[in-house]
Symmetry: D2
Subunit: 381 residues, 4 copies
């Protein structure tokens, strides 16, 4: 019996365009999916470059205007992999055209923007998802499972960091294709939206809602040459963003993201401490879970380094054999697999746009607190 087809129209051919394209191609090879994703069309402004991208990844057609892409009848799903300032307009139009919508994170540059996007998909009743891919690192998914099983008891502490060091040089310009993340107009914010958003999405998924925050941000290098204007311009983004918060479950937390932590490339970390157990994970060794269980025999208590490559670990039976690790791009493959399975089951697949909005509400509170120098409540709704 032929599988149902899921025709994908992708917007954007940058770094995220590659990870998403790979995911749509690989998911059906490793997972037995009820739909067959098809790379129907890729859309971006430069006709020449989009053509090369289409050839490389096997897209059947190309578009250079996303509005045309959305109008096409042969597209089921619009996947937005373009910079942050394009998310809302495309997502809303796609939803209004009745397309399923996937969107890179953060959902909006602000919670206000994200709210309009949630309204659009909910009003249209279309399946939707945000690419917070790190939830689907198998080690992280296992922490979620262990938490849901109540193995940690009462949670006391959560801490999470995202440390990078790639913008320390003052010679680095801002803006333009490769460096739009440093341009506040395009990105919306700096590390708060780019990095902390990942930390927050994962934290709320694992540990529930954040109720209030107190934060500080810093822009260490105040001016950089702007690639679009050619002039030295003020830097509008935050280079570092740190906050303390309280979760609804009574636990305390620290969060930190920076691009000025020399020696760290993409060190996304989390640790959760409960009454009975604790867990740690980091992205630099993403295939390992560190787990401590106080119920172990006293003289043999310690942190266990679990190599998450066994068939009873989340997602891993679909890959290789014990001991053989997977990498970064696999998290996107898992997300496609889960999305397609949810679709067939008629369920929504988290993180939905509503989840993406919840994260934007926290990043808004963080940026607000950095300005007011006060504790700020996370404002929902």
């Amino acid at each position: 019996m032929a599988k149902k087809i899921l025709n994908v129209g992708m917007v954007g051919y940058g770094f995220m365009g590659r990870t998403h394209s790979n995911a749509f191609l690989q998911a059906p090879r490793y997972f037995d999916l009820p739909y067959q994703p098809v790379l129907k069309a890729i859309c971006a402004r430069s006709a020449e470059r989009v053509k090369g991208f289409a050839e490389n990844w096997g897209y059947q057609t190309i578009e250079t205007d996303w509005r045309k892409l959305i109008e096409r009848k042969d597209i089921d799903l619009i996947d937005i992999a373009s910079p942050n300032n394009t998310h809302a307009e495309i997502a809303i139009a796609a939803a209004q055209a009745g397309k399923m919508v996937m969107c890179e994170k953060p959902l909006g540059r602000t919670a206000a923007e994200a709210r309009t996007m949630v309204a659009a998909v909910e009003s249209a009743g279309v399946p939707n998802m945000v690419w917070y891919n790190y939830r689907r690192v198998p080690a992280v998914t296992l922490i979620k499972k262990l938490l849901d099983e109540g193995r940690f008891g009462r949670i006391f502490h959560y801490r999470s960091k995202f440390l990078q060091d790639w913008t320390i040089s003052s010679d680095l310009p801002q803006g333009g294709e490769a460096l739009w993340r440093l341009d506040v107009d395009v990105a919306g914010s700096g590390v708060t939206g780019d990095l902390l958003a990942h930390n927050i999405d994962m934290a709320m998924w694992l540990n529930g809602p954040i109720t209030e925050v107190v934060a500080t941000t810093e822009t260490f290098i105040k001016e950089r040459k702007h690639n679009l204007t050619g002039k030295v311009e003020p830097v509008g983004i935050d280079d570092a963003s740190i906050f303390i918060c309280r979760f609804a479950n009574g636990s305390l937390a620290t969060f930190e993201a920076t691009r000025y932590a020399r020696g760290h490339k993409a060190l996304f970390t989390l640790e959760v401490n409960g009454e009975h157990a604790s867990a740690k994970w980091d992205l630099h060794d993403l295939h390992r879970l560190e787990f401590f269980d106080h119920r172990d025999e006293s003289q043999l208590r310690g942190w266990k380094s679990i190599h998450i490559t066994d068939s009873d670990h989340p997602y891993m039976k679909h890959w290789w054999v014990p001991g053989l690790q997977i990498g970064y791009e696999h998290t996107f493959v898992h997300q496609v697999a889960d999305f397609v399975e949810s679709l067939a089951a008629g369920k929504s697949c988290s993180p939905t746009f509503a989840d993406g909005l919840a994260t934007d509400c926290v990043t808004d509170a963080v940026l607000r607190s950095a300005k007011t120098r006060q504790w700020e409540k996370v404002l929902l709704g």
Copy 2:
């Protein structure tokens, strides 16, 4: 300009069939290759199962008799991913038919068998390669580069292990599709050919020829139910294989492989100690290289853990961004990329069949020494 096509005919749809298929699909997406590999045909005995495999991986046609596959004019390259006892016959026939040949490791079950294969490809003058994939773990490739640059000075020591624990239960049967590695007739030997062959190939690539060995082997569980006969039969393979050796460069080494090292899934390790520097690597954290340089400032000397994810690390500019790791299957992708590039350049791509034979000569000496309880010279030629 259209790329040249490289039509692949694959034999075998097991674990290795999957890794090779993935490699042919992924290599051209991440590397700018002069040939476009095409999954033209997949061949295995079960028509039904080969059909499912073909659909999953996108093979255009299927065969159930490898002789027919070899006869086909539309196949450029035969890739042998079937069990060890099929390697020689298929490879020789393929070479005689003028096909390029890739073969899973070990090349032959014995050096004698491997010699016939080398003779065949050399006589036919066809490009050939053995899938010792671990040479192309970026961290390992970097060690090779550093050694070639002379950074280690005189080499004193080499040590390498491959530790697994999946056959400890005496309830595990031998033989049949999933467990042919425990059946000596099919596999040729136990961990010596299956695991140590990897250690030896990498060691000789990095540190040059091995001249003599003294070894011991053990079969801890002497009888197991055989899946093909249904009876309890003697176990003919070695469960553990350990040897000491000397390299032509004067260095001493220890090698060990076992499937009885509780707690280790696929812990392939290497360490090389030179006059000025040392390096360590292991497969459980394959994206890391441990490096020690005695020329560092004295008070700051230490082992450096290098996260091999930067664009100036071997192969890594083709993947993601710093900090984002790749996994096991990527090593096969790199091997396809290198093979295709060598092909276009008219060069052979190592490890060739001749390299595969060199490794078989060492495993032969190891098994011989385990019997004679003597030091055994590695017999080449």
Copy 3:
């Protein structure tokens, strides 16, 4: 030539009484000191127990009233190893009697209390020191040296934690000899004074003054049986204390201490990120320094794990040979050695009482901020 004698009068025979006694005994055996410390007298309330302690450690005499100890002409130095609520009274009396004074940390329960102590020693002109022993972990001392040499460039980030898990059980009582740290009247505060004080002392030594903080504290278990009253009483201490701060040099920092981090016994950590280099250290592997230098050759950049056991590492030429580690109590030995050498040189030995006060000013600001929910400036003078 006979060495000069330094007659020590110790107050307190608890955990810290042991570490100090050991330090006075061991320092002259491993360091060539200008003075010979002599354990002249030990003082504590229970005559019977103080006698046993004196015998064990070789104290020549005992006292049960610290006022008498201070009056003795044959005592040169009063070392205060008794609970926090005794520090100020004893230290001030000792200074007024012209004795040198060493005091366990934190100096006072509050900055106000500490100020009176500083005034006393400065008015009396007596040598004085606070036992912030962790400055003299060789790895930490080496970080200080590297920072002072300017190897890090501009500092962007500092982070430090002190994680424990020994008070999670609600059955644990508060107060009395072994548990005075849970009794707010004796201890002054909870983890802020007991643990964070160590983090802050080390941070300011390494990274300069802290200018302002925003903090939160929590008491997870609100009531515990009190050992002195036998009744369930409110818990007055903070179980967890977290703050964000800014240093005078423009760097941002996070600090956290808790006794509710399951799986951590005494995990004191620090990390400092500079423009050119970063360093990490933790107490659970106190003999290791993690160091990253961006000036290393690009492809070989990584975190170096330096085993701080070489003769060119701080303090280490006095101990064993490379590879052989020292432990916790050695930090106190180093502090005695430095104190005695400073004494002979007529210099003060840091951390002095003035340094101890500076730390109390920060802990005061932390506790104040936790109440006001505002950023609080660190108030000096």
Copy 4:
């Protein structure tokens, strides 16, 4: 009630003289011992230097001729901390004089020499012990306990290394006080007796007798200036020594010691793999035990890093609090404590001279096999 006195007469004031002296001083402070060791006399050839050593460590008297020391009535125990070539003569004379004898390892330079020493102490019926101190690293002692409890099941593999790098420079001379370990006449052998002896003693204690070995040794630098003759002389010691062996319990093992492993200072390692569990330990992080238990829940199996600092860990209740590590010299303290407790109980304290001989029998077999290039049985009796 006054404790019984144990008057110690020490021979040798080098590195081992320091560790032993420290042990006799520290043991009674941390352990409640039935005897009080007293540093009665120190003996070595240089009167001036022995005087300085005596002052530093508090020895009551000095001797410059060990025969006189042995004649003294006020000495209960002779502790031999002088170079290997002095062990037999002193130990035999001491035993004949009715003294208890402790001797640095290796017991004899050969098994033949050791046999005469065993005969002497057994004939005299005096308590005796060899300073294989590493058995009393708490993590190692815990492995012994776990093995004795049968937690590992059948043992399949054992591996142990001792890697150093301090003799790589060809400028390093041999012989004389600081470098007698490179002088074959004094040391007896190179790394085989100096390092491997430790590995073997620990291995047989943990895993039972070794039955046969096949070995190779190498002297990388063939000539060095001799400090005693002032001339360049052949080097008689082994720089590296590697062997494979079989234990009586059927397990296989690899052992390796070298002083040419760049980057390792004193990396003594062990790993034992059993049917149900495995353990690892190394001297560079001596306070940690790595433990894997296959009986753990499948999805949470991993190697546990146990910080051996809790009161229920061997010896640790005598030291500090959880999280605070001890160092190298503590192992000697433990050995004194155990010796004294055994003495009071009228039991022998292992490793006895008989245990030391058993190790010498294995090192003999190793050196023999390196010459014969054959498997050699371990010859006992």
